[in-house]
Amino acid sequence: MSYSTSEMMTVAAARRLRNGAVCFVGIGLPSKAANLARLTSSPDVVLIYESGPIGAKPSVLPLSIGDGELAETADTVVPTGEIFRYWLQGGRIDVGFLGAAQVDRFGNINTTVVGDYHAPKTRLPGAGGAPEIAGSAKQVLIILKQSPRAFVDKLDFITSVGHGEGGDSRKRLGLPGEGPVGIITDLCIMEPEAGTHEFVVTSIHPGVTREQIVAATGWAIRFADDVQVTAEPSETELAALRDLEARTAAAHGQSAGEA
């Protein structure tokens, strides 16, 4: 079965969510991958959305973070303040699943501005829930398409911290969570190197070359000593993803989007 690079990315990200994990899900690509995980390898994954649904099991992907479908299929719906106070800050989230506009080599995320904050070239939507998800979730996964504009040498703004300046800098910040453990792109999977906490390529998607990855990264990307080839999406995974996308398009009159 042939598949697109976007499908490979979503499938690779979905595989990272272990069954039973409590996952705080961002809208867009994270939501797509998390729901694919729920429909395939991890039926008991618990999806929490910042608008209030806990244990959401949507049959179609939400367009917004607070779609009615999320509330209707949830185990319970709590106020947004409670989501951040009891469930996230309270230490009950295993995995924070985030998207980003830009990311750097230490997994720090920018969703605020491109250019100077006070005279921005591009004003982005802002922080949302990400800074505290990045801080308090036990682990963080980041999913975004790889390009030199997105994978930058230096962020104009750190909205949500990953491994800070690398080394033990996250530890010195005193954050409860371990921080980002994987960046999943349409080309590869990156994981933090022991010690430096710099993200290096640990798995390359089938058919992708190292040159492509280098060209799509704004810093001098390094490769782990033992680089794997990502397993191709199975027929089951692809069928589940395509069904989900088709149901979503039929329900909303549009795709769920990736922003």
């Binding site: 947004t80 004003r123 922080a127 949302g128 800074p131 909303h252 549009q254």
Partner: protein, 282 residues
């Protein structure tokens, strides 16, 4: 006791130039009709507060109602940017707007603190983020028991909060359900609170522990069916996804935006006429 008023009269009576105003709604029950009425009445110099400013804030900002925006995520969900917000921030059109930016956890806690009558909220947040560098109101406080350094942020206490809900009874008690966002906290944090509702009924028939805002905690209740369009009202109507998409090209340039506001908001007397005009154009 909340007065049962027309939306026109409620906005006239309770929203003043220069006020801080929170029109809250977390993608559900967004008080669009009330935002339109604020534009219609030409309110000025407002400090707008909202965790998730979307289309109605784009309209208020583009129409020149806002002096300042306090927020944590601004966008058109599932579509992209708020072009009027960006034009105001990036190019000062129609005039400069001051930005005070937080995270969701921060603002959610700040509303809780406001509703609790506290001057500030305390939370574990922002370590390693650049947001405190650009928002001097994000400070820290040391726990007197453990020594842990935590974030301290001022509570949100709007002059006026406006929310939309499903039902009110004839006394003005309000019931809402589904995704609640921070509406209850925002309502209780404010000096005055206007609630627009889908219907007014004899008996709310609220389940025990339901989210009910008692009439004596509110200023005004206004019957505005459909008043959350293009967002949704759980149990009443669905989100109008096509309107969110249609908004993108309208808001993308100043001329098409101004023409839309002049036609649909300033060119209509109330939300009922707005709806009729919008339907006729589709």
């Amino acid at each position: 006791m909340a007065a049962i008023l027309s939306l026109h009269d409620a906005v006239k009576q309770f929203v003043h130039d220069g006020d801080s105003v929170a029109l809250e709604g977390f993608t559900h029950l967004i008080p669009t009709a009330a935002g339109h009425e604020i534009i219609r009445q030409g309110k000025r110099d407002l400090t707008l507060v909202r965790m998730t400013p979307d289309l109605i804030y784009d309209q208020l900002i583009g129409a020149g109602c806002a002096r300042k925006l306090i927020f944590s995520w601004g966008g058109n969900p599932g579509v992209g940017s708020l072009h009027r917000l960006r034009d105001a921030v990036e190019k000062q059109w129609p005039h400069a707007i001051e930005i005070e930016e937080h995270s969701h956890a921060d603002l959610a806690n700040a509303y809780v603190a406001g509703a609790s009558g506290l001057p500030f909220a305390v939370l574990r947040a922002y370590a390693g983020s650049d947001l405190p560098k650009v928002n001097p109101l994000i400070k820290s406080v040391t726990c007197p028991f453990t020594g842990e350094v935590l974030a301290a942020v001022p509570s949100v206490r709007p002059d006026v909060t406006v929310i939309h809900a499903q039902k009110a009874d004839r006394k003005g008690n309000v019931l809402l359900w589904g995704i609640l966002g921070v509406q209850k906290e925002a309502a209780l944090a404010a000096k005055r609170c206007i609630v627009t509702v889908e219907e007014i009924v004899d008996d709310l028939q609220a389940p025990m522990n339901a989210c009910v805002l008692p009439t004596w905690a509110l200023s005004a209740v206004c019957l505005v069916p459909g008043g959350a369009h293009p967002s949704y009202a759980h149990g009443y109507y669905e989100r109008d996804n096509r309107f969110y998409q249609a908004w993108d090209p309208i808001a993308r340039n100043r001329e098409s935006f101004t023409a839309w506001i002049d036609t649909y908001i300033r060119g209509t007397t109330d939300f009922t006429e707005f709806k009729r005009k919008l339907e006729a154009a589709q």
